[in-house]
């Protein structure tokens, strides 16, 4: 059993990417993802990899596109304003069926916003990552260990489904130190990419990596096919963690950093005799619809907790579809909800049902 080591979220994520076989990192400096890129700049030369500081996030994501098209595992990381600039590249990656890892260590927005942690890019990650009809795999770790484990999954599922994957982290998780296990027995092999533009070697027809389909019926057919793939992913890849939900009447739904806070609030509520539980989505796309639907068996009400003005709550409402009340509690702008505040919300709801 490998030993536990103390690591910062951002650094653990970077090291896990190297462990997963990623040798190509392209980035542009921004707080609070700084340690991630710094770690890559230190480690990549030691493992024969490439660290390249691009002239912008736009350039960085397009370098990722080129590297991925050429057949290697490639990634970029940034924080909210930088992710906005990457949206062009995300759309082209998806439209070209290219795998890639994009990390968003979220900070407060809009505009330059602030540099404190936030979860206000949920819509951007799950709905409006760029123009056109497309989806990305979106993973939401809530511990440093999970950052490590999800990086490997993001790479391998991205490869399997040929699509970009995002890790939606935040400044809190990025800066936090926790004991972790770096288990490289879990590392996945980088699969063959017969479609890559790595040179045909005079042995096959030329490969083309492309997102342009000028003929509408053709483009519609391709999009439909891609959406069938998305449906298969929805069926197979939904993930979440449930905590004390078996008999829960008040079901909290929270991801990432706010799930940590909500977990404490659930414990506090239980001490006071309130049947509270927590569903923590681990995949934000595909969203764990099945878990939330089946929880309606015991749930009298849902409470969504986020570090935003309320974004993921829309997904909960879509699933619950008016059958139960769905409330929201959030802090935003870099403010973090406390367990006491969340407990207070739970109590208010408990009085109401």
């Amino acid at each position: 059993m490998p030993e536990k080591v103390l690591m910062k979220g951002n650094e653990a994520l970077a090291e896990a990417a190297i462990m997963a076989g990623c040798r190509h990192f392209f980035g542009y400096p921004i707080t609070p993802q700084t340690e991630l890129a710094a770690h890559m700049s230190k480690r990549m030369p030691k493992v024969g990899g490439v660290y390249l500081q691009a002239e912008s996030e736009v350039a960085a994501v397009n370098m990722v596109l080129g590297a991925s098209a050429a057949g290697v595992r490639a990634m970029t990381s940034s924080s909210s304003p930088g992710i906005s600039l990457k949206s062009e590249g995300l759309s082209y990656l998806a439209g070209s069926d290219l795998p890639a890892l994009i990390v968003n260590v979220q900070r407060a927005g809009p505009g330059l916003g602030g540099i404190q942690p936030s979860q206000a890019d949920y819509w951007q990650a799950t709905r409006a990552s760029g123009h056109g009809d497309f989806k990305m795999l979106v993973f939401a770790p809530s511990t440093v260990q999970e950052m490590i484990d999800l990086v490997a999954d993001a790479f391998s599922l991205g490869d399997e489904y040929r699509m970009p994957a995002m890790i939606l982290s935040d400044g809190l998780l990025g800066q936090m130190m926790e004991p972790v296990v770096m288990d490289d027995t879990k590392r996945t092999e980088v699969p063959e990419r017969p479609w890559a533009v790595s040179g045909h070697g005079n042995k096959r027809e030329h490969n083309i990596v492309n997102s342009l389909y000028i003929d509408p019926p053709n483009l519609e057919a391709i999009l439909k096919e891609r959406y069938e793939k998305y449906e298969r992913i929805k069926e197979k890849e939904q993930r979440c963690e449930e905590y004390r939900t078996d008999d829960a009447e008040i079901v909290l739904v929270a991801y990432g950093a706010s799930a940590r806070i909500s977990r404490s609030a659930v414990d506090a509520a239980r001490k006071e005799g309130i049947k509270a539980g927590l569903i923590r989505p681990i995949t934000l796309w595909p969203y764990p619809e099945k878990a939330i639907s089946s929880r309606m068996a015991t749930a009298k009400a849902f409470l969504c907790v986020e570090m935003s003005t309320g974004q993921m709550v829309d997904d909960v409402r879509l699933i619950v579809n008016g059958k139960r009340p769905v409330s929201f509690y959030g802090r935003t702008g870099g403010m973090i909800p406390t367990p006491a505040e969340v407990l207070n919300e739970i109590k208010k709801m408990n009085g109401g049902i």
């Binding site: 190509h24 392209f26 490439v50 390249l52 691009a54 002239e55 912008s56 736009v58 350039a59 960085a60 397009n62 370098m63 990722v64 596109l65 080129g66 590297a67 991925s68 098209a69 050429a70 057949g71 290697v72 490639a74 062009e88 590249g89 082209y92 070209s96 890559a196 533009v197 790595s198 040179g199 045909h200 070697g201 005079n202 042995k203 030329h206 490969n207 083309i208 990596v209 492309n210 997102s211 342009l212």
Partner: protein, 249 residues
């Protein structure tokens, strides 16, 4: 001139307008690839513009890039496959407006890629708007009274600008308006690919090109227009050549 189709071109019919330079330049690039025998390990990057379908025309592996990002995409390919030959094929809007940052930084990093830059002083694909290379006074769809440099700024001389950067191995401006110039263009393009194979650094060949359709000129008059109007603002020549400089030492 040989009329046999270079192997590095597929047999798909070009969609370019009659008298457009894109076809000639495609052919020159393909000939260079053939002569160097590198088709099997070459990846090309098609940019957004009239030449976007270049990915169908070149027989080597091809990627279609977002508008302006061709050299960032090429950087990613080259860093993933340093032993491969990587080239971009870009128009002036793509390279010198929306993609200026990508161009300047690929050049200054000395990215070991070859850039084929089509300067036709206009945005072709979108129907003839002002390009960063549109000449002073030139009438386009969006400079209907002629480009007024006081308002619309001055055209960019790309080779001159890039020649100040240490990462650039070769920056040369050529033209395809005459048989003589086509031959010189071919030589320059081949040299650029050779430099890349030798690992010398960033190479760019700017080709003064025609767009009869959006210039509103006949094929013949377009060639005259290149000679009479473009060549004085964009003089042909070698702006940087580290091979020649090494030779002098």
């Amino acid at each position: 001139m040989k009329f046999q189709r270079p192997h590095a071109l597929t047999d798909i019919q070009f969609h370019y307008c009659p008298g457009c330079s894109h076809g000639i330049v495609h052919r020159l690039v393909a000939e260079a690839i053939d002569e160097l025998g590198v088709e099997g390990n070459t990846t090309g990057v098609a940019s957004v513009g009239c030449s976007v379908f270049a990915y169908n025309y070149f027989n080597c592996d091809m990627v279609q890039s977002p508008h302006g990002r061709a050299q960032a995409v090429a950087t990613g390919i080259k860093r993933a496959r340093p032993g491969n030959v990587v080239f971009t094929y870009q128009g002036d809007g793509d390279l010198a407006a929306i993609g200026t940052a990508e161009t300047v930084h690929a050049a200054t990093r000395g990215e070991n890629i070859t850039v084929i830059f089509i300067n036709n002083a206009i945005y072709g694909m979108t129907g003839g708007q002002m390009a960063p290379t549109t000449l002073p006074g030139q009438v386009t769809q969006t400079t209907p009274y002629g480009r007024n440099v006081k308002e619309a700024g001055h055209p960019i001389r790309v080779c001159e600008m890039l020649s100040t950067l240490s990462g650039v191995a070769l920056a040369e401006r050529v033209s395809v308006d005459s048989v003589k110039n086509v031959k010189a263009a071919k030589k320059a393009i081949k040299k650029a690919f050779e430099y890349q194979v030798e690992g010398k650094g960033y190479t760019i060949i700017e080709v003064l090109s025609s767009c009869p359709t959006n210039w509103g000129l006949s094929m013949q008059d377009s060639l005259v227009w290149i000679r009479e109007n473009m060549m004085s603002y964009y003089p042909l020549g070698v702006y940087r050549d580290i091979g020649a400089e090494e030779g002098k030492e």
